[in-house]
């Protein structure tokens, strides 16, 4: 390199810097280049995203089981995770056996509980949703009923059970009654709020078009209220599932709540732990089901 001979050190260093900068640019370009042409949408699966979604919950569960295992290592009374798992495998090997009224498979117990929830909750929906509509539509009714709702809503579910036993004189209807009365409030309240929040614009449209009352209800009120209503339904189902376990413990019969109590009397703690997990999973599934229904019926509203 002849030119280098004439360079002063300063110039040389500057050149070097320039060179370095150029190299850096080139390097950057080299790195950027393969990215530059927008990559065609890859049909490949997003493994990374899935991993990030799935991994943390798994770690959480593993951590819980780990702590449980550590704490029960030397315990005589409290079963270890492994022992519980073994018991669960046995239990779920035959979930639908039936040996008399007090000894039935866990599948039957869950189904009987779900049936009670369905009946109690269904009746609550049939009564509560129209009631919510009325309360939302008529201010007088709202003022009449609001204090009563505020008073009765926070009452513990089990306080209603004796009333049910007294009136129906049987355990099963009493349990259903308890579900009914506890799951009705969220549906009434949410439906009423939904009706009150129907945008005035929509009602003005109804007035200008001079729509019939039937059209107002089917085309404007009902669709506008539906998302609120479904929120109420979701909360109600959650409450109902919460209440059934407690109610069944007291009333007996076939059902997951009674099953827990029965296993406690047998001192079968493994089964109680299994029941807790099962109750949680069923509650989760109910919630997920209703969320998916709600999503289907909700409309996007962006002005």
């Amino acid at each position: 390199m002849v030119s280098a001979v004439f360079h002063t050190p300063l110039q040389a260093s500057m050149d070097a810097k320039a060179d370095a900068a150029a190299n850096l640019k080139a390097a950057k370009a080299a790195v950027a280049e393969p990215l530059k042409p927008v990559p065609p949408p890859r049909p490949g699966f997003d493994w990374n995203g899935l991993l990030l979604k799935v991994l943390p919950p798994l770690i959480g569960v593993a951590l819980l089981i780990g702590i449980w295992a550590l704490l029960t290592m030397k315990s005589e009374t409290f079963p270890t995770p492994l022992a519980t798992f073994d018991a669960a495998v046995k239990l779920f090997a035959d979930p639908f056996y039936s040996k008399g009224p007090n000894d039935q498979g866990i599948g039957w117990n869950i189904l009987f509980s779900l049936e009670r929830v369905a009946v109690g909750f269904g009746m609550a929906a049939v009564v509560g949703i129209p009631m919510g509509f009325m309360i939302g539509r008529f201010e007088v009714l709202n003022r009449m009923v609001s204090p009563l709702i505020s008073l009765l809503r926070p009452v513990s579910p089990l306080a209603w059970l004796p009333i049910g036993l007294l009136v129906f004189k049987a355990a099963n209807p009493a349990a259903i009654w308890t579900i009914f009365i506890c799951s009705i409030w969220p549906m009434i309240i949410n439906t009423a709020v939904g009706v009150q929040r129907v945008p005035a614009d929509y009602l003005n449209v109804a007035k200008v078009l001079n729509l019939s009352e039937w059209k107002v209800i089917t085309k404007i009120l009902f669709p506008a209220v539906l998302p609120y209503m479904l929120t109420g339904v979701r909360l109600s189902v959650g409450t109902a599932w919460l209440v059934i376990v407690a109610a069944e413990m007291l009333t007996g019969g076939v059902g997951i709540g009674f099953w827990v109590w029965d296993e406690w009397n047998n001192l079968n703690v493994k089964h109680i732990l299994i029941a807790i997990v099962v109750i949680g999973v069923v509650g989760l599934l109910l919630e997920a089901l209703l969320i998916s229904i709600a999503k289907r019926f909700s409309y996007d509203e962006h002005h």
Partner: protein
């Protein structure tokens, strides 16, 4: 004059929590058949209140409003309203939104196919036939407003009432829709009462501009007849001396004689 809408000595007093609010006083207005009238004024001057009175959504405290010699006692489809925020029902498609109105007005007399044709024709008229299966959240603000206009026009109303229909749109979309509205009105010979706060919009569209004084107790300050030949073209009018003159008249009323509304209101 063949007056179609008559407002005779209308007063409007709202009873609010803070007491009585005198919104409008001594309103007298006649609108002829086929006339395009705009109501202009500063915000809070009660121009929307006046429109709502004509729509029948509000009833006057005193005075009389007539439409086609009949008292306006309630809203009705012969006085179609285009709302400021389009007010399309979000759970219905554009077609269904318009069809709801068509069905209400013509459902008793006409067959299903005829109702469908009317709906399609109305969407066609505003250039929205391509979006008839879309829901309001899938189309732009300007398109929503077009569908709102289609819904109103589909009812074949005697009067089209528009409450700042283009107020929420950007300037270019607004200009475009104004031009469309001019064409539609020329075709349908509709009687239109429109609320606006846009001076150019008022001069471009109107046969008469009703200028309102500031509230409370607002009234009609002046009525300006815009005698520009139709069809009107915004670009040509921009240099038209009469257009400039009318524009200045309105500006003069709004800002010189009835300005500083904020300080009065505060």
């Amino acid at each position: 004059m063949n007056s179609f809408i008559q407002v005779q000595n209308a007063e409007m007093v709202f009873s609010t929590r803070k007491g009585r609010f005198h919104a409008l006083r001594e309103i007298d207005l006649d609108v002829a058949k086929g006339e395009f009238v705009t109501l202009i004024g500063h915000s809070g001057c009660g121009k929307s209140t006046l429109l709502n009175l004509i729509a029948g959504l509000l009833l006057p405290t005193s005075g009389v409003l007539l439409c086609d010699n009949r008292e306006i006692a309630a809203p009705g489809p012969e006085r179609a309203v285009v709302f400021q925020n389009h007010s399309l029902l979000p759970w219905l498609t554009c077609f269904e939104n318009v069809h709801l109105a068509v069905e209400r007005v013509f459902g008793a007399k006409e067959s299903r196919t005829a109702l469908k044709q009317r709906t399609d024709a109305a969407l066609e008229l505003v250039g929205m036939a391509h979006a008839s299966a879309k829901r309001p959240h899938e189309i732009s603000g300007g398109m929503k407003q077009r569908v709102g206009i289609a819904r109103a026009l589909a009812m074949e109303p005697k009067v089209l009432l528009m409450d700042e229909p283009f107020g929420a749109l950007d300037a270019l979309t607004r200009a475009h829709l104004q031009d469309e509205l001019l064409k539609i009105v020329a075709r349908t010979h509709s009687t239109v009462v429109m609320v606006t706060h846009d001076v150019d919009e008022a001069v471009l569209l109107s046969d008469r501009i009703v200028m309102m004084t500031n509230g409370p107790a607002a009234t009609i300050g002046e009525i300006l007849s815009v005698e520009l030949p139709r069809p009107r073209h915004r670009v040509e009018l921009a240099e038209d001396s009469r257009y400039v003159h009318y524009r200045k008249e309105v500006l003069d009323f709004l800002y010189t004689r009835h300005g500083h509304v904020e300080s009065q209101a505060a």
